[in-house]
Symmetry: C2
Subunit: 175 residues, 2 copies
Amino acid sequence: MATWTLKRRSTPYRGRVVRLHVDEVLYRGRRITRENIIHPGAAAIIPICDNGDILLVRQLRYAVGKRILEIPAGTLEAGERPRNCAKRELEEETGYRPGTLRRLGMFYPVPGYSTEQITIYEATDLRPSVQHLDHDEDITLERMTQKRVRTLLRTGRIVDAKTLVALLYYFGDTL
Amino acid sequence: MATWTLKRRSTPYRGRVVRLHVDEVLYRGRRITRENIIHPGAAAIIPICDNGDILLVRQLRYAVGKRILEIPAGTLEAGERPRNCAKRELEEETGYRPGTLRRLGMFYPVPGYSTEQITIYEATDLRPSVQHLDHDEDITLERMTQKRVRTLLRTGRIVDAKTLVALLYYFGDTL
């Protein structure tokens, strides 16, 4: 399957969460370069209230320079399983614990330059707990009807990949 | 709107396509760090044949270590507009030129750590031209009925963000 041979690797950056590999690989007799973010993976949760409302978070994102509407999500800690990460992040970001957590699927947000995979869960039977944000997170909780979410989707106001994919997986039975 | 002040920036990596910024920013009186990929943006195209079939490409992705099914896409060249990038990439990867190109929307694949935005187009009225792949691309063209694409989607065999989002935008009118 793997048709490349690693010839040389440099690691120009090691951060708190990710590191960057620049690999020279031999591929069909040619030497090519691959710039690659090594990422531990993430979990994202679409939280469904008992009446069908969806909980979203409006989050200030430094990279894109604005607040965008997202489902709760977070990066896996060392050795953490996606399901446990999903439970932890849901509670931290929304203040609810999931009575039921169902895996909807996974995806690669940028397979061209990152190893990151995001596993998506549906959370139902939500139970009130306590929200506790990281000190560098700026998050506002927004509860919306499914109709409202569909309107935002149709009018291009949901622009975050994991949120769009979660909505596809959640509403997708009708496709 | 922007509630942060940049205090210090290092650029530990400048690559062919992306560069990495590590920014120390002042945010609500605290000094926080943001690791940030600076990306020129990309365009992706869902190509629809006259009979409704969809053209996909199966592409070997080094970062995730396997071949995955995607819509044609590529990175914007310097000064290139997303629409022109979409035309160019469609022709390069599939050997078809679009008679009609319609913008479906855009999204951020990883707003937590990359500036990348991907604009998605629907291509119809396809006209045969010549495929010409980059030397480091390993791509196979696959033409599929919409029914087959829906089956692959439901069974979790489409795992690429831009492809999933394009399918949501394309089929989304039924949501």
